[in-house]
């Protein structure tokens, strides 16, 4: 599973801190501002009222003077008006002054009540105190004139006027000074407020600048990280061997995928492409159905990812492609699916595509090797199933034959072609015997050698010393195999307590018949033919070893020929109204004291001179005229020349054109006489008559 986690606080920490700082600083500035405004308001009231005190002091003096004049003129109405104003002005001045000293609610300039704060500087307090020093005696003088009292004496008025005259300027100065001081206080406060505001602005600007710088730095850093991550992702995706991509829930491909993906899938891939559709083109319907089920299960959250991987249907998916030259190429892919989890939810599937061609081919090779080793074990068991003495005899023969080849090679007096034919015959003989005894190793190797030598012979080039060198190398291989085989047999001999003393007897066991029969059955199977074998070869076991061996070799060759060339396939036999199963007879019988007959007979298609002529012409072995010029006997004689065959395809049993010449060679060994009898589509019989004189 692939998981993504984000810490929101870590990512936005700077911004959150900046906002907190902004709120705190702004609240502070606003509070100070609010307080300042409140204070400014108070100052304005104080300045206003101290100004009014100036005016009231002067008006008190003026009203006193007017009162004195009105009293002198005796105008009572004027007197009453003056007294009333004096009452008003004095009370206003007194209450205001009291407000300055103690803080109190007073009547404002507009007649409304306002709160006058106590003066709070030493200067102001001193000024107020000094004013009281004058005002209190002044008020004593004025008191008889206040409160609507008309019973005052002119002396009392004179006393008040006189006091006013003496102190008017002093009171004015004091009130003036108070006003100045209050203005000074107000200015100081205003200045302080301005400073605070400017500081506030600076703090806000600083905060803003800090936020911007930090945010930009973070942004740049995160951009850098993103860019780096993207670069790394791109690099990974461009270099990674596997095909990598994210599969969205709707079955489409993510925006990024590895560069190797299109190469692996062998098609163009683009972001957002529908992977399911791609899959549909790539795999058979049943695999596709299973794959979509599997993907659906992984995209759902019900199944446990690790408990369903074994059901992934997209393993070892064969992909066949055709290149420009038209050659097809097979490769194998495996798709791995992993859930990608984001915020606890399955968001995508991470798909990894691997080219598993190598593994698949290794697996196939392993499978092959297993089969091979099984075959080898079987071959070995077959080897062990043989009569032990027969095996020893065979090896002794091979030893002789190899020595013979060696002799041929060393005596090669530039008649390379001739030498080659002789060696071929010997190798062919070994092959036959090995086949009968089930010694697959030697049979297969002899077959390989034979093929190579035939290739030399049929190349049409003159056989040279170089070719002979090659044959020497082949011979080496023979020796190697022969040696290891001898060793094995010798070891078994020790184990079995068989010291190899019974060679002669071994050859003469009735196993010859069964060995030939089993060889015939094997060849028949290879050729898809059916055959019934009748062997009567007990006589062979009474004959001298050398002749018996030659006759065995002849039997092998003639059985091969009969099954390859003579007996037809069941279908062909059915067409010719013959039983589907062919018949093969081998027998050896004594005619008189010294004469014997050895016969191999099959009920196949027979040797037909006309067919042979046509075959040789078709194969380019002779021209039409040449073929027509030869008698039937001469045409059939061609079969006994080295390198002649009538089989259409060569295999390990026949078709290489070695065989009958070997038979002839062997017959010569014991001065036998060969006669061939045949009838088209009925039979072929090889009849060998020989004589044994004691």
């Amino acid at each position: 599973m692939v998981k993504h986690r984000h810490s929101i606080f870590a990512k936005y920490r700077t911004i959150i801190l900046a906002v907190i700082l902004f709120v705190v600083a702004d609240s502070l500035v606003i509070s100070i501002n609010f307080y300042g405004t409140f204070k400014a308001n108070e100052s304005a009231v104080s300045i206003n009222l101290s100004g009014r005190q100036r005016m009231l002091s002067q008006r008190t003096t003026k009203v006193l003077l007017l009162l004195q004049r009105s009293l002198e003129t005796g105008d009572e109405a004027e007197v009453a008006r003056d007294l009333k104003e004096l009452d008003l002005v004095v009370n206003l001045f007194d209450s205001t002054l009291k407000g300055f000293r103690d803080g109190d609610t007073v009547t404002g300039g507009d007649g409304n009540k306002v709160f006058l704060t106590q003066v709070d500087t030493d200067i102001s307090r001193d000024l107020v105190a000094k004013t009281y020093v004058i005002w209190e005696p002044y008020l004593d003088k004025l008191r008889p004139l206040l409160g609507g009292n008309r019973n005052f004496s002119p002396a009392q008025v004179e006393a008040a006027v006189s006091f006013a005259r003496d102190n008017n300027l002093e009171i004015l100065r004091l009130m003036n000074d108070l006003t100045s001081d209050l203005e000074l206080v107000a200015n100081t406060r205003a200045h302080f407020l301005r400073v605070i505001l400017i500081l506030g602005v600076f703090v806000a600007l600083g905060n803003f600048a800090y936020t911007v710088v930090v945010s930009i730095r973070d942004l740049m850093r995160s951009d850098e990280q993103i860019t780096k991550a993207q670069e790394e992702t791109t690099e990974i995706l461009s270099t990674v061997h596997e095909g990598l991509f994210l599969l969205n829930k709707d079955g489409t491909l993510g925006t990024q995928f590895s560069a190797s993906l299109p190469k692996m899938l062998r098609r163009n891939i683009s972001p957002g492409m529908n992977f399911i559709a791609v899959l549909r083109e790539m795999v058979p319907q049943n695999v596709f159905d299973a794959a979509t089920d599997y993907i659906e299960l992984l995209l759902g959250d019900r199944v446990k990812e690790s408990l369903v991987t074994s059901l992934n249907p997209l393993t070892n998916v064969p992909i066949t492609t055709t290149d420009q030259a038209g050659a097809t190429q097979q490769s194998y892919l495996t798709f791995f699916f992993n859930r990608a989890i984001m915020d606890g939810q399955i968001s995508h599937l991470l798909v990894t595509v691997q080219d598993v061609t190598e593994q698949v081919s290794l697996m196939q090779r392993l499978e092959q090797a297993k089969k091979q080793s099984k075959t080898e074990v079987e071959a070995f068991l077959r080897l062990l199933g043989n009569d032990f003495g027969a095996l020893q005899q065979f090896l002794a023969n091979v030893d002789q034959e190899l020595a013979q080849i060696n002799k041929e090679l060393s005596q090669d007096d530039h008649r390379h072609q001739h030498t080659l034919n002789n060696i071929l015959r010997i190798v062919h003989g070994i092959k036959g015997e090995a086949a009968v005894l089930g010694v697959d190793v030697l049979e297969a190797y002899a077959h390989e050698c034979e093929k190579e030598m035939i290739a030399i012979r049929e190349s049409g080039d003159e056989v040279t010393g170089d070719h002979m060198l090659r044959i020497t190398v082949l011979l080496e291989g023979f020796y190697e195999r022969y040696s290891s085989l001898s060793e094995i047999i010798a070891r078994f001999g020790e184990v079995l307590g068989n010291k190899g003393t019974q060679i002669e007897q071994a050859v003469k066991t009735p196993r010859i018949a069964s060995q030939i029969a089993s060889l015939a059955q094997r060849i028949a199977k290879d050729q898809n033919k059916e055959v019934e074998i009748f062997c009567k070869l007990e006589m062979l076991e009474t004959l001298p070893g050398r002749i018996s061996q030659d006759l065995q070799g002849i039997s092998i060759q003639l059985v091969r020929n009969a099954l390859t060339h003579g007996i037809e396939t069941p279908a062909e036999r059915a067409m010719a109204h013959k039983p589907e199963k062919g018949k093969l007879h081998l027998w050896c019988e004594r005619l008189d004291n010294t004469h014997y007959d050895f016969v191999v007979r099959d009920d196949g298609r027979g040797i037909v001179p006309e067919r042979l002529r046509a075959h040789f012409v078709k194969n380019g072995q002779m021209s039409q005229e040449e073929a027509a010029g030869l008698s039937d006997h001469e045409i059939v004689s061609q079969l006994f020349l080295p390198g002649v065959s009538t089989a259409t395809t060569a295999n390990r049993d026949a078709g290489h054109g070695i065989g009958l010449d070997v038979v002839v060679e062997k017959i010569k060994n014991f001065n036998g006489h060969l006669q061939i009898k045949s009838h088209a589509d009925l039979f072929t019989e090889f009849h060998i008559r020989f004589e044994i004189t004691v």
């Binding site: 049943n286 159905d289 299973a290 089920d293 599997y294 659906e296 299960l297 019900r302 199944v303 446990k304 690790s306 408990l307 369903v308 074994s310 059901l311 249907p313």
Partner: protein, 122 residues
């Protein structure tokens, strides 16, 4: 946790039960074994197990149908399909019916223990 073992093979049933002796699986108790789907549903209704191991090929009612029924009865139950089936499509079908995991027969003790632990992990 209660476990119901569903398999028509007695050998497999006892094999699964034996694995539960593993110390890491001490929280699992076998409450019953069924040899076909019909029996399994009876036991399922009776005991309401949280865990079920399910074979696919069985007489009476096969694993696919049985899984579907069990999920209808209790959508939260954890079903582990254990099958020798080489046909992946049928196994996937059972998972689509609501089983949570799949284990191939033959399995090793360790594989079964791991599967149980994975299945019961929340």
């Amino acid at each position: 946790m209660k476990l119901l073992i569903v398999d028509d093979s007695k050998i497999i049933r006892s094999r699964v039960a034996r694995t539960l002796n593993h110390p890491k699986l001490d929280f699992v108790q076998v409450i019953g074994m069924a040899q076909n789907g019909v029996e399994a549903i009876d036991l399922f209704l009776k005991h309401m197990p949280e865990l079920v191991t399910m074979d696919i090929t069985m007489p009476e009612m096969d694993g696919v149908a049985c899984t579907e029924k069990m999920i209808q009865i209790n959508p939260d139950c954890n079903i582990l399909v254990i099958s020798a089936l080489s046909d992946k499509a049928t196994a996937l079908k059972t998972l689509k019916k609501g089983a949570r995991g799949f284990l191939y027969k033959p399995f090793s003790d360790d594989e079964l223990v791991v599967a149980f632990l994975e299945l019961t992990a929340s």
